[in-house]
């Protein structure tokens, strides 16, 4: 059943992504001020939203672990965090490429960029902590706490665009403050978001399967050591 879901989501995500590529390169015109490079937003913004959404889900799963003490919650949190971390990296890289063309620099220490980078570093710490602890229960417990702490930091990142003066462009999506993009130009962002969410789900499901196998191996190893 899970394999079928993975296959179905992969195919659907692939189809939407291909159709989106066709729309964004052949149908949507160049942006008036930015030219062709503006199209990077179609991956930049959905990746950022996917990663944020993932970090929140990971936090809820971590809270779930702390309440239920079921290692499956931990593997969900770990899988989602790893995938979200990949999307954070994509956001940083696409943002950097856009910045090089529009601002003339690869990186600027604008507060939002800095906060996103901090977020990335926090989850580097999370992944490092996972590797540093051998005992599965201790690892799950401490990583759950770290995930909650890191997520609070993500909230500060999310709010920082309103708190601080910034060089980063203002919100362009229509759900926030009236929006700045034409409807035809905005639609592919949401389609890409859907496709990336499906892709992220596929990756999480595959990663969870690996975690389940790891748990099984750990149990067998403990069983073997007992004799």
């Amino acid at each position: 059943m899970r394999l079928k879901i993975i296959l179905a989501l992969s195919v659907l995500s692939g189809l939407i992504l291909s159709w989106n590529l066709h729309t964004m390169f052949l149908k949507v015109p160049d942006e008036l001020n930015q030219g062709a490079i503006f199209r990077i937003i179609y991956f930049h913004v959905p990746s950022a939203i996917t990663s944020f959404a993932g970090f929140f889900l990971a936090m809820f799963s971590s809270v779930g672990y702390l309440i239920k003490k079921d290692l499956r919650f931990d593997s969900v949190a770990a899988s989602i965090t790893e995938v979200s971390f990949a999307f954070t990296t994509i956001t940083l890289i696409t943002g950097s490429i856009w910045g090089r063309v529009i601002w003339g620099i690869w990186w600027t220490w604008d507060y939002r960029l800095t906060s996103f980078f901090i977020c990335w570093l926090l989850y580097v710490g999370y992944l490092m902590l996972r590797r540093a602890i051998d005992d599965p229960t201790t690892r799950a417990r401490l990583c759950a706490v770290l995930s909650i702490f890191a997520c609070v930091d993500v909230v500060i990142v999310w709010k920082s665009i309103e708190w601080f003066r910034t060089q980063h462009p203002g919100p362009v999506l229509s759900i926030r403050s009236g929006g700045g993009m034409a409807p035809g130009m905005e639609a592919p962002i949401w389609w890409n978001f859907l496709a990336l969410i499906m892709l992220a789900t596929v990756l999480v499901l595959i990663r969870m399967r690996q975690e389940a196998m790891q748990r099984e191996i750990d149990t067998m190893r403990r069983y073997a050591h007992a004799f």
Binding site: L66, S115, L122, L129, R141, V145, L146, I148, I156, R165
Partner: protein, 226 residues
């Protein structure tokens, strides 16, 4: 015993042990002086440039020196299984944590209060006119460093790579508080007027302290006991 009495008993124990051995404060203070000295090679110590980055220098020194104190906070309890004894004592995890926080806070404030005049002398800066506000920034910023650092010290105490993991986890977590403290300290040391925008940094510092203190107190039992 009330929550605070238990916490104060733990803090008293930590401070007494530190006053007798002086190992952490001495190391932290020497380290702060070494960093202050090293910075003088990175740029001209008497220039105007120093005034512009004074807050940053100061808080980097505090954060680096602070990690030494925080790293030892729980690690010193490993000898003779003292940590297990503390956990199984009538004091709750939150009380142990809060007591250690208070002790670390005092120790770090001592290091900061000693290294600040040294910074003023070494870098030819003027004593800030609004020193009361700067003290407030130091009190708020240091509590942020302490509360996060102490919790993460508890988290990493049993790890093989404890000394490596603590700074890796703590510094990114501290950046919002450090940003606020750096910005406010720079303005206050340079003697410039605080703009309306700067008030948000005070709120950020205070908010950071409140949020993470509450979160740490709620979760420390899980970290220490399970």
């Amino acid at each position: 015993m009330t929550f605070l009495q238990q916490a104060l008993a733990i803090a008293g124990k930590d401070l007494r042990s530190e006053i007798r051995s002086k190992e952490t404060v001495n190391a932290s203070l020497s380290f702060a002086l070494v960093i202050l000295m090293l910075f003088s090679f990175a740029f001209d110590p008497g220039s105007d440039q120093v005034r512009e980055i004074s807050g940053g220098l100061l808080w980097l020194v505090y954060a680096f020196a602070g990690t030494l104190i925080l790293n030892r906070s729980f690690a010193r309890e490993l000898v003779n299984d003292c940590l297990d004894a503390l956990i199984s004592s009538p004091a709750s995890g939150a009380q142990v944590f809060f007591g250690k926080c208070l002790a670390n806070y005092l120790l770090l404030m001592v290091v900061e209060c000693v290294s600040f005049p040294v910074f003023i002398i070494f870098y030819n800066a003027r004593w800030p006119a609004r020193w009361g506000l700067l003290l407030l920034v130091m009190l708020l910023g240091t509590w942020g460093i302490t509360v996060i650092g102490t919790l993460f010290s508890a988290m990493t105490v049993n790890l093989r790579l404890r000394e490596l993991m603590l700074p890796t986890l703590v510094y990114p977590m501290l950046i919002p508080a450090l940003l606020g403290a750096i910005r406010l300290s720079t303005v206050l040391i340079a003697g410039e007027a605080l703009e309306t925008d700067d008030q948000i940094w005070f709120k950020l510092l205070a908010g950071f302290d409140v949020i993470f203190t509450a979160l740490s107190l709620a979760l420390v039992e899980i970290v220490l006991v399970g």
